[in-house]
Amino acid sequence: MADIRNYTMNFGPQHPAAHGVLRLVLELDGEVVVRADPHIGMLHRATEKLAENKTYVQSLPYMDRLDYFSVMANEHAYCMAIERLLGIEVPERAQYIRVMFDEITRILSHLLFLGAHGLDIGAMTMFLYTFREREDLFDVYEAVSGARVHAAYYRPGGVYRDLPDVMPQYAATKIHGAKAVARLNDSRSGSLLDFIEDFTDRFPANVDEYEALLTDNRIWKQRTVGIGVITPERAIELGFTGVMLRGSGVEWDLRKKQPYEVYDRMDFDIPVGVNGDTYDRYLVRVEELRQSNRIIRQCIEWLRANPGPVIVDNHKVAPPARADMKGGMEELIHHFKLFTEGFCVPAGEAYAAVEHPKGEFGIYIVSDGANKPYRVKIRGAGFAHLQGLSEMSRGHMIADVVAIIGSLDFVFGEVDR
């Protein structure tokens, strides 16, 4: 009898299905995975150490670069932790803006999941479909913060500025004539809120399109049903959160259970899976797209009716208005102090968590009273999920590992930090 030994194979770090820089050392028995050992850290940038050497506001843009597909949700947890330490209350309008942008971020992240997951396991069209909608949401990001991805829009005490009254419009080019541009600009003639509302009108039909392509698709189901099953008990033990937990049937969502900002006033449902496999997690995420759409619509309605401040007027934490700064001595000093030394945060420690598109995203800050944090710990959801990859992929084929990686939906920015 021939001597049959297991193969050890490298998967990644440069593999299109590895979602960044995952190196997996796979031990294979034929084509069946016996053991998967993820090697991470290829994208380690020591964000936490850098944050210890910067003032609180200076390290805010670093939060964007953690999970770079759910930018504003990262900032949110960071701002919440600082606000808890400072003991400041965020204005109501800023809370609504944050909730609205959290949900826009969730749609952005889940759309990327759908597109990339589809692409990984052979549904090429999904990528093109979902990026069509992502484009509109990036325009929303750009209109409000000036950047399409790394927004740095949330600030301790509120958000950087109020929603703009006009939406930037396309100009005619050689490729897009006046008629084509007029059609593109049709939804952009009003304010930002009008544009988002127009998006939310269109979006449920788009989700139906995605579902028409995938949900009952025989090939899609063959690739995902029964793949990467995780029991609810094991998911809890391993520290899974978010969709990974809900896909296994555990009804746990921080937006409902520990509501922050104004989530307690929102009307939305929490979808849960039954079998805890890749297909159920896909279904949960698709349903979350619809629920996020609902939340955004409720926020738009409120934001239209209630103007107000969007950042605290405590100038020890938030900068004064530019116009006041030009005329007033005190405002000028505040501005100078805030952007050079920053603000000192009272000694203490706080852990703030948000329901990030990927799961629980927490920021733990230890302050010793200085203008820089003493220690920042970022709890990314993907770190815990990736830990479960080995046992989830055991007994599956190599091609299924790709499906499981896609379903775990991690982003290396937050796993490696």
């Binding site: 003991g87 920053g342 000192c344 003493y374 770190f383 815990a384």
Partner: protein
Amino acid sequence: MAGKLEQLKNNLEAALGSRIVSLTQALGEITVVVSAVDYVAAAQALHDDPRLAFAQLMDLCGVDYSAYGDGVWKGARFAATSQLLSLEHNWRVRLRVFAEDDGFPVVDTLTGIWPGANWYEREAFDLFGIMFSGHPDLRRILTDYGFVGHPFRKDFPLSGQVEMRYDPQQKRVIYQPVSIEPREITPRIIREEQYGDLGHG
């Protein structure tokens, strides 16, 4: 909410009893400090006791307190801090243990109670050099293969110790001591308590 925190506090005191070194309630969160000897037993109680039922370990991180408050820190240098969550009761607690020996910090592993602690403890070992005794697979996790030192310790420079470049003569990538000077653009400063009078501004 405040009533719930009181209840949690009472349950913690009842379940852990004399194992608690200190219990602090601040900013709506409870921090329990236990000694290294009681660490695993206390964690087991937090996990198993139905009055507490902390089924999930959300996070575990190392902290190096050596530079805390610009040198006012007197206690042990290294701590492992974990954030626990109970899905059943919907509450959180922070559990902290200080490693007794500053030179060779060792605490017990929590992987037997929460298997999810595995990678978090590897990370704390990698970045702070805290040893977790009984850990099944205590390897470095985030830093490079062959990395020397524990980069998140306060005495490790921000710029690192070595830099990497391609050497055209040897035709390979080599490590050499860093050529950049560490610099601090915004100085770190601790203001007195009422500076700026937060909350009334």
